[in-house]
Amino acid sequence: MHEQISILRPIRTPVIPAGDDFDRLIEAVAMRRDRDAFARLFDHFAPRLKAYLMKAGATAGAAEDFAQDAMLTVWRKAELFDRTKAHAATWIFTIARNRRLDVLRQDARRLPLPEIDLVQDEPEQPDTVVLAAENAARLKAAMARLSPDQIEVLRLAFFQDNPHSEIARRLELPLGTVKSRIRKAMIKLRTLLDDEQGGAA
């Protein structure tokens, strides 16, 4: 009897949610301060945010604080989330990116740092929801077509603190080679995204 009733309730599935499910979780936090939704976001993203800062050379303790602070920002700024502009992982990455500048800065004065704002006004288009979803699929397809070398160089560029010299050291390559490899990866990504766009039109 109890089991039957539980089938009728919304069940918290143990399955890892797909990308747009995370979008819904942030929206649930925004709309009704949904703690369960936040707990699920936390389970998924906080350990990755901790890993993110450890990759930049931070201690486990500092990375833990960073992950908690970033997730607190997710809770507080959930109202600003707009899935037509960016999906959950993108939005949370940008929170981490803006915070990272702050954590790793050397200048002690608390002057504002340039932040990336994903929700700034753009010319509104009627089908932005479709566009954001299409863009995500397009980006996924494009990234899948980068070579392992190119993905590796992007990953290092995103996560290392001192990217170019660190990448050079890690991959045992001259600095110039690293820069040209990054450049090639970026140009390939641009080309792939443009092609996909052209193909869809």
Binding site: R35, A39, F42, A46, P47, R48, K50, A51, Y52, M54, K55, A60, A63, E64, A67, Q68, M71, L72, W75, R76, A86, H87, A89, T90, W91, F93, T94, A96, R97, N98, R100, L101, R105, Q106, D107, R109, L111, P112, L113, P114, I116, L118, N135, A136, L139, K140, L154, R155, A157, F158, F159, Q160, D161, P163, H164, K179, I182, R183, M186, L193
Partner: protein
């Protein structure tokens, strides 16, 4: 001579990743405010960062991590962001308006500069540089990296023309002598690392007086 000058791919990527030094990030942010298509690209790179973040090997947090975040969410209502007053130069790109500006300093005929009180990184800092029409800066190389974004007017180097929104990267190996070619003064925002090394006998003579 013409053509659009954008930051290099690796500098845009470093900005997107948040690994650029703060003074350099300020000049790139000013450039992006003037070049929406590059800003759109930086937003696309945020999605790349999001995918890479999602693929990271998770690191376990403390048992009570979530409870601690929830406790903080309840107790303090949020960081009260002191809204910094905008500075007096209404023509500046938005990212620069939030910083206080130092007084103008005379650097030579038709040349002046003022500090942008943005975060520094060691010796690297942000300045506004204004050079009058037809004026040339003394021929110089750089102690370190110099990033420039044109805000008004235009200047030309030996090889290229730089107009509003254009971005120039120069390092210790570049010897150049920009000349203002616009009818109005040329205003630039510059991230400057180290002192400018002036070239030639006149430069050497002026070096002690020019402190950027």
């Amino acid at each position: 001579m013409t053509g659009v000058h954008n930051p290099s791919e690796e500098r845009l990527l470093a900005y997107a990743a948040g690994t650029l030094s703060p003074p350099e990030a300020v000049v790139v942010a000013a450039h992006l405010a003037m070049r929406p298509q590059n800003e759109a690209w930086v937003r696309t790179l945020q999605a790349v960062g999001g995918r890479l973040l999602d693929e990271l090997e998770p690191q376990a947090l403390a048992e009570d991590a979530l409870a601690r975040v929830m406790a903080r969410a309840e107790t303090d209502a949020g960081e009260v962001l002191a809204s910094t007053p905008l500075n007096d130069m209404a023509g500046l790109p938005e990212p620069l308006r939030r910083y206080a500006l130092g007084p103008w300093r005379w650097l030579g005929p038709g040349m002046r500069a003022r500090d942008v009180h943005a975060p520094r990184d060691g010796d690297c800092r942000v300045i506004l540089l204004e050079i009058g029409p037809g004026r040339e800066t003394p021929k110089h190389t750089h102690g370190g990296i110099e990033l420039t974004c044109v805000i008004h007017g235009a200047y030309a180097t030996e090889t290229a023309l730089f107009e509003p929104g254009d971005f120039e990267e120069a390092d210790g190996e570049v010897l150049h002598q920009p000349r203002v070619v616009s009818p109005d003064p040329c205003l630039c925002v510059v991230a400057l690392d180290g002192q400018i090394q002036l070239d030639g006998w006149l430069g050497k003579l002026m070096q002690p007086f020019i402190k950027l």
